[in-house]
């Protein structure tokens, strides 16, 4: 039982990281109808930016909370800038064309980013210095909560609450939801789709970067293809939850994280990566619209 609880907690932490990434997929899908295949690579660039941030203040010598915050901020700012650039120069010119063109372009952007990073940093993984002392924060019986788990939950919950507030309570969030219904109707109330879509990319990319830093704290290396598998798993989580649905992305991601942790714990960690594909196939077979996918009837 103790082991089970531990695995579930670890899995929930992993799941909340996936959730941060999945939110980017689902939000961009919401406003643009696009599966942004470059999303995982935006995370990867954020991780590299985090590495630069670590070096810039020689944080690895002795980790501090302020230093940790600095790494998060640099990574998130860098990724959101990148997200804006990608939207502005790769997607916006094609927005009025077919969705397929956009999709293919996003695959192209993904490859471009991976190869650029390979040229800049080389293909071999770089060690990400320890920026958080891995120690046990508290322990109940044999269930240990490390301070990594605490940081992961704290960062993801805070970011998700901020996001929830933006989407549900602000004019910006209402505009995002209006655009996800119809660009044309949104324009008629004075919403400029360009601005809202740009901000959506900013937010989604910043969340991905935060997830990237949480990943490399635990698994201390960065390489140009690190975004692929992470991105894929988060994408599956978004599909499981119902792409376009924010709550669905979070529930889907937590489910994926916990399942993965249980599989790795009870069976073998070699199967954990297969899980994503199995889930994807099952969802597409059984309920393609996902757990929270909605087909709202529209009244005229």
């Amino acid at each position: 039982m103790q082991e089970f609880i531990q695995l579930v907690i670890n899995g929930a932490a992993l799941g909340s990281i996936y959730a941060l990434i999945a939110l980017g997929y689902t939000m961009v899908y919401g406003v643009l109808g696009l599966i942004n295949f470059a999303h995982g690579d935006v995370l990867m660039v954020g991780a590299y930016a985090g590495l630069l941030a670590v070096w810039s203040i020689h944080l690895n010598a002795h980790p501090t909370l302020l230093g940790l915050l600095w790494v998060f901020v640099v990574a998130m700012v860098a990724s959101s800038l990148l997200g804006v650039l990608i939207e502005r120069f790769a997607y916006r010119p094609l927005r009025n064309g077919s969705k397929l063109n956009l999709l293919i372009t996003s695959v192209g952007v993904s490859l471009l980013l991976e190869n650029l990073c390979q040229i800049l940093w080389g293909a071999t993984p770089r060690v990400f210095p320890s920026i958080l002392n891995q120690e046990i924060f508290f322990k109940v019986d044999h269930v240990a909560i490390t301070n990594y788990l605490v940081v992961t939950f704290l960062v993801s919950v805070v970011l998700m609450i901020i996001l929830e507030w933006i989407v549900l309570k602000t004019q910006l969030g209402r505009a995002m939801r209006a655009i996800s219904y119809s660009h044309e109707m949104a324009m008629l109330v004075g919403i400029s789709a360009d601005n809202i879509i740009m901000i959506t990319f900013m937010i989604g990319s910043a969340l991905a970067a935060a997830a990237g830093i949480l990943v490399v704290i635990n698994y201390p290396q960065v390489d140009p293809t690190m975004g692929l598998l992470l991105g894929l798993k988060a994408f599956v989580a978004a599909v499981l939850g119902g792409i376009g649905s924010i709550r669905g992305a979070v529930v889907g991601a937590l489910t994926m994280g916990i399942l993965e942790s249980l599989i790795a714990g009870y069976f073998s960690s070699t199967y954990r990566d297969a899980l994503a594909f199995i889930v994807l196939i099952l969802v597409l077979m059984i309920k393609p619209s996902g757990l929270f996918g909605h087909h709202q009837p529209e009244k005229v």
Partner: protein
């Protein structure tokens, strides 16, 4: 004084097919002006061109004396030109209250929004108890009320209304026309597209009739209403009882 809206030789196409072949008209501030015409005449197309969600081929559109051809659709809203589209155009996935909030999206005086929502609810009391309901779950008539209440939230000077009575029961239609008159009395100029020619002519001051992309008739609504030969020739028995 120049008219509120002037259109000169407006041409609009979908792909290679031209559907408006050079429309010219003039709307005076303060009036209700109706635009009649049978299905496919190009009425919706004309409204879309005015609000800017459709690119025009050529011609001039001047609002308050200045050309708005190079002004993007969202910015036209903040200039006071609001289009309430065919099929309501409300956001079904947002609550009634959120729809009203978005109506004020382009405004700078954010502090006055709550007060205006209150005023909107006085004008459209049907919405009062439904503020937290998803707009998509409203009845057709309620949705039309919401669409008009939301449009008013933008403080329009010119309101383009595309078939507000479409698909509604007679009683609701009457109520919708009452609201149109109310909005107009508050100083909003209204360009009203309607299939229901009789009522539209009754509440409007001036009328245009569009047929396959050309304005074929215009004049004071009263004249059109009383001239039975005009009725027969241009408006047809089907739309005028």
């Amino acid at each position: 004084m120049s008219p509120l809206l002037e259109i000169e030789n407006l041409k609009v196409s979908y792909g290679t097919i031209e559907v408006l072949h050079g429309i010219s008209c003039c709307l005076d501030a303060g009036d209700i002006i109706c635009l009649l015409g049978s299905n496919g005449a190009g009425k919706t197309t004309m409204l879309k061109a005015i609000s800017g969600i459709l690119k025009i081929d050529s011609g001039a559109i001047r609002f308050k004396g200045t050309s708005i051809i190079d002004v993007a659709a969202p910015q036209r809203v903040s200039k006071g030109l609001v289009h309430c589209p065919e099929g309501r155009g409300i956001f079904p996935n947002l609550s009634v209250w959120e729809n009203l909030q978005l109506g004020a999206y382009s405004r700078k005086d954010k502090h006055a929004i709550q007060r205006d929502i209150q005023r909107g609810l006085e004008w459209f009391p049907i919405l009062e108890d439904r503020l937290s309901q998803l707009a998509g779950t409203l009845s057709g008539g309620e949705q039309q009320m919401l669409a008009m209440a939301r449009a008013v939230m933008a403080h329009p000077q010119l309101l383009l209304l595309d078939e507000p009575s479409l698909g509604l029961a007679p009683q609701m239609i009457e109520s919708v026309f009452e609201k149109i008159k109310l909005i107009n009395r508050e100083g909003v100029t209204i360009l009203l597209v309607e299939q229901n020619a009789q009522v539209a002519l009754e509440i409007s001051k001036f009328a245009y009739v569009l047929e396959t992309g050309n304005l074929i008739l215009q004049g004071p609504s009263e004249t059109l209403l009383n001239d039975s030969s005009i009725k027969k020739a241009y408006l047809g028995e089907a739309i005028l009882p």
